[in-house]
């Protein structure tokens, strides 16, 4: 897995599968997921977690779900690559 590919997949997932009204071009790798960035609401975040788990065959434990880990797409991509390897 190459990080840029994982980042691309995550951006596409947000644009195509969440009710977030965002295009891939509007999603920055370092943008916050929350109200100070992409604006994913609480429902979208849970959907996002579920879709990430299904798409990449990983599981987020409670201790994995931290603000630091979910800071932006780059940090999530790092986690996905670590879990999937």
């Amino acid at each position: 897995m190459i990080k840029s590919e994982v980042v691309g997949q995550i951006k596409t997932l947000i644009a195509d599968e969440l009710d977030a009204n965002l295009t891939v071009a509007e999603i920055g790798e370092s943008d916050s997921l929350f109200e100070d960035g992409l604006g994913l609401d609480s429902v979208a975040i849970v959907e996002f977690i579920t879709i990430l788990e299904d798409r990449f065959g990983i599981q987020f434990s409670d201790t994995d779900m931290t603000s630091e880990m979910f800071r932006n797409i780059s940090t999530i991509a790092d986690f996905v690559m670590q879990k999937a390897s």
């Binding site: 109200e35 609401d41 429902v43 849970v46 977690i49 987020f60 779900m65």
Partner: protein
């Protein structure tokens, strides 16, 4: 009376170092009297009159909590509203406070510069440009005014006497067995009746440690849960569903209270298995906490939705046109509450409708089934029923029947257009995590479980419903935006 209760909490030795936190700032109860004196001086300096109504945009953080407690401890008159939205702040335009509010108060601060003991660093005070002297409330009584959440209609201004409010608070302390050793998580708004009257104020009065959360989502909640280590929490059904969807392991709480929308029996049982005792609260902006699941009853009864009235609450079921298949008396539930509201008011401070007496019966617009031991069970809304096939159909009954299908987490039924049986209805089905739902399967299930007049004209599968800022399902949003045009 509130001033006395708050003073006791601040001076009590039993509360130790307990206080309020929001993860960024902390205030111990013992610090509050000195902070309140600073606020007194700051407001005098800003020419705020001691008897005027304050419109307070209440933030869900320590600063918001402190000002709210100051207002109650000083027996002020205060209207609580949500903080300004980003759009309102950026446009510089506010929705406008009612004419009877003389001053507007909001929490605004730069994190590096805000200091709890210096109110000028976080309290913004403005005169209300639309204030009208003639609409001012000519009373020394401390008043708390709330806006209804308006999930199905426009918000109303609901006026409470602060002293009557205090009675509501005390009965919640008893029902939830709150003590000063509790660590209580409040991720719900403290400017709405649930967060304020059931969660925040009872926790303050008993002297518990409190964690108030702003802009909660599951990630932030888990951060705070790890750091604060709560023993009890006041959640919404939406947050409970997020726990079930995304959390892999359980985490036992001594008690979790939820209020708002109905939690299905299946989810109630699953939730309690993972997260500890769950109690559903039934109430309103007008009456505060009216009834709860009985924490002393077995899980099976609580999961079925049986509710025990709070102290000071009387109930009666008034027959309506709606008839369901039940051996128990049922109809619209009317409520009488010792600690209920004074009445509805308009923006000019005029009463709307007739003045209320304490003994007045309040029509809840909820359909209920009477149960043994003075308990009852809510089965739907009177105004969430539709006429179909010559009968009044409670939509909650359709939802309950459809939720029995394996793989269905939740069903929301809304009226829409006209159908061959009368008013049309559309069912939104939310699947269990990792399940897919086929509409044909759902239709077959409906034909098996429901009489012909109760089968929805349209069935749609969605991942999650839109929600209002207070966490309740946006029913108007569902009906207006999620049904494909034909």
């Amino acid at each position: 009376m509130f001033s006395e209760l708050i003073r006791k909490t601040c001076e009590s030795k039993r509360t130790g170092n307990n206080g309020i936190t929001d993860g960024k700032f902390d205030a111990a109860y013992g610090e509050l009297p000195a902070i309140f004196e600073k606020i007194d001086k700051h407001l005098v300096g800003c020419d705020v009159s001691p008897d005027g109504f304050l419109a307070f945009r209440c933030s869900n953080n320590v600063f918001g909590a402190i000002f709210l407690l100051w207002a109650l401890s000083r027996a002020r008159k205060v209207l609580l509203t949500p903080p300004a939205t980003r759009q309102q702040r950026e446009s510089g335009r506010d929705a406008g406070a009612p004419h009877f509010c003389r001053h507007l108060v909001a929490i605004e601060y730069v994190p590096e510069q805000a200091k709890l003991r210096e109110p000028a660093t976080y309290l913004r005070i403005d005169s209300n440009r639309s204030y009208e002297e003639e609409s001012a409330f000519a009373t020394d009584e401390s008043l708390v005014c709330l806006k209804t959440s308006g999930s199905m209609a426009s918000p109303k201004l609901v006026m409470h006497s602060a002293n009557s409010f205090a009675g509501n608070v005390t009965s919640c302390i008893d029902r939830f067995h709150l003590t000063e050793t509790d660590r209580i998580s409040i991720p719900v708004p403290i400017f709405h009746m649930y967060g304020l009257g059931a969660g925040f104020l009872p926790s303050i009065i008993i002297g518990a440690s409190i964690d108030i959360q702003e802009n909660t989502n599951l990630i932030r909640f888990l951060d705070r849960e790890r750091e604060f280590e709560p023993s009890k929490a006041f959640l919404t059904p939406g947050l409970c569903e997020m726990f079930l969807k995304a959390r892999k392991g359980g985490r036992p709480y001594d008690l979790i209270v939820t209020a708002g929308d109905r939690i299905s029996e299946t989810n109630f049982l699953r939730f309690e298995k993972g997260f500890g005792k769950l109690v559903n609260l039934y109430g309103s902006t007008e009456l505060g906490a009216v009834a709860t699941s009985n924490p002393d009853q077995p899980l099976e009864l609580r999961a079925q939705g049986f509710l025990k009235p709070m102290d000071g609450v009387s109930t009666k079921i008034v027959e309506t046109e709606t008839k369901i298949d039940s051996e128990h008396e049922h109809g619209e539930i009317y409520l009488s509450h010792k600690y209920g509201f004074i009445g509805y008011y308009d923006a000019s401070g005029k009463p709307v409708g007739q003045a209320r007496a304490e003994s007045d019966w309040f029509p809840s617009k909820d359909l209920a089934v009477q149960a043994p031991d003075n308990q009852f069970r809510i089965i739907g809304r009177c105004d969430n029923s539709v006429n179909r096939g010559g009968r009044l159909l409670p939509l909650a009954e359709v939802e309950t029947a459809m939720e029995k299908l394996e793989g269905v987490n939740r069903v929301i039924v809304v009226p829409h257009g006209e159908g061959k049986h009368g008013k049309g209805i559309v069912a939104f089905c939310i699947p269990e995590k990792s399940d897919t739902l086929e509409i044909d399967d759902i239709k077959k299930h409906c034909f098996a479980e429901l009489p012909g007049y109760a089968i929805p004209e349209k069935i749609l599968v969605i991942n999650a419903p839109p929600r209002l800022a207070n966490g309740k399902i946006d029913m108007q949003g569902l009906a207006n935006n999620f049904i494909p045009r034909e």
